[in-house]
Symmetry: C2
Subunit: 125 residues, 2 copies
Amino acid sequence: MQISDAEWVVMNLIWGSQPIDASQVIERLSEPHDWSAATIKTMLHRLVRKGALSHEADGRKYIYRAKVRRHDCVRKASRSFLDRVFGGNAAPALLHLLKTSRLSPDEAAELRELLDARFGDEQGG
Amino acid sequence: MQISDAEWVVMNLIWGSQPIDASQVIERLSEPHDWSAATIKTMLHRLVRKGALSHEADGRKYIYRAKVRRHDCVRKASRSFLDRVFGGNAAPALLHLLKTSRLSPDEAAELRELLDARFGDEQGG
DNA sequence: CTCTTTCGTTTACAGATGTAAACTGATTAC
DNA sequence: GTAATCAGTTTACATCTGTAAACGAAAGAG
């Protein structure tokens, strides 16, 4: 199951604010993305159909919840990105991101720690 | 201009082996991707139309060349991936890739060097 | 010179995507 | 209780994608 660009916007909101009903999603996304309410309703509907969201009636409205875990979707999307753009090799991707990104000192430190933890200074691991 | 999944396969080949003619592309891609010659011809055609490739007649066949630089496409695709999946923040993306990837010691070392060069140990840069 | 093969162009077609209006059933305001 | 409103469902529609067949021109086979 593929989550499209626009659907990621919706999913990202829902992962961060579930359970949530349609009006909330519309309220939070229509302005910043210049989407009509109808567009957002369509996306919610499609995401339910795809199995990415579940909805549960609460009176006349529906409460939406993610059925797929963000982490799994991130993994899938990352895999697909790596495959398509870097032939599946993480190293060039990491180098590219590192070269083109501004990181805060804290973020850099965290990265360095993880790097050291997983791939120790002397031997790789 | 967007390069689709399948088109990336073609572009990746061409970036690595240009100039190249259609029969070569077909020869190199149809087996591993299980694509018919017609499919590959379509993709070449679309890529020319999109402006990603140029073609130049050489007798009855065409020689293809990339018109867009790989680096630019990588940057665009990375940007789009970051935006869609990580809300535009490189740090979580880097952490994710690092957590889910196996790197060789050399790759790890290269990353560490770049990290240190760009975001020195004491002060961020 | 015809027939066949080859190469590129056009056309095809279903499914995904972005974007949204139309429709329908329930609910709230009079 | 009838009108306006609101939520969700259906329908719409152009474009993009993946996948490929059909078609037309050129070139080589005989």
